[in-house]
Amino acid sequence: MVARQESQEGARGARGQSSLEALLAFAALLCALAVLAHAARAQSDAFASAVGEADARTSLAREAFYIDLSASIVPTAELQRNLSGVPISDGKWLASRRIGAVREPLFHRISVDAKGRYYVQNE
């Protein structure tokens, strides 16, 4: 009788240890998955940032090309209002509206009139 009771208690203890191990293993798995998910999100953000920067740089370079080309052809050209870049540094640089760190130098200066319209002149 006593031996049977001891055997039952032993089995219960082993089951308890086994379920604790399973719980710990599950927690470790969840932690690993959380770390992976976090890293994946960071990686995805970095990719989106790189693609966004590349996109901003390409469109800014294209706009800078058209601005300098216009200034080479005609004495004064009015620029579109919906440019993806804004003139900075006394009009000699074009900075992206979306990513301020993306900039393109210009060979001609952009000036702004009283009504806020941008012009480029063949100096």
């Binding site: 890293a39 990686q43 390409t58 800078a64 130098p105």
Partner: protein
């Protein structure tokens, strides 16, 4: 006895299985990250190439406009104003090089544009490089 061995074998199987799944998922994640990183870098490189090529084209237009106005482009002032490291202008005709001017130190990537121009009644080739 046999039952205990079976239980041990099952536990061992599950732990190996779980560990293998974890290793696989980490490996797949690493590959996915590498692909994303490479794609991002490629996009940035492509944008840099496009920007450099368009910049050298703009430089060649500028140099031509300056030459048409009877002026020589001040390359050193240009580099300082544009935050670039190197600029050069080479004019050549069929007989060889007529003039060459450069400023700054050549960096790793230099973008060049070659254009044709007429100077003093002669067809010349203008090569504008910027880096």
């Amino acid at each position: 006895m046999c039952k205990m061995n079976d239980a041990k074998r099952t536990r061992a199987f599950w732990s190996i299985d779980a560990a293998f799944a974890l290793v696989l998922s980490v490996a797949m994640f690493a590959m996915f990250s590498a692909v994303l990183y490479a794609a991002g870098m490629q996009a940035l490189d492509g944008a840099g190439e496009a920007s450099g090529a368009l910049l050298s084209a703009r430089f060649s237009y500028y140099a031509l406009a300056q030459a048409d106005g009877g002026k020589e482009a001040d390359l050193q002032a240009l580099l300082e104003g544009m935050g670039r490291e190197y600029a050069s202008l080479r004019v050549a005709d069929s007989g060889g090089e007529l003039s060459f001017a450069s400023a700054g130190e050549k960096p790793g990537a230099v973008y060049c544009t070659t254009r044709l121009d007429v100077r003093e009644g002669r067809m010349v080739k203008l090569e504008a490089c910027i880096g």
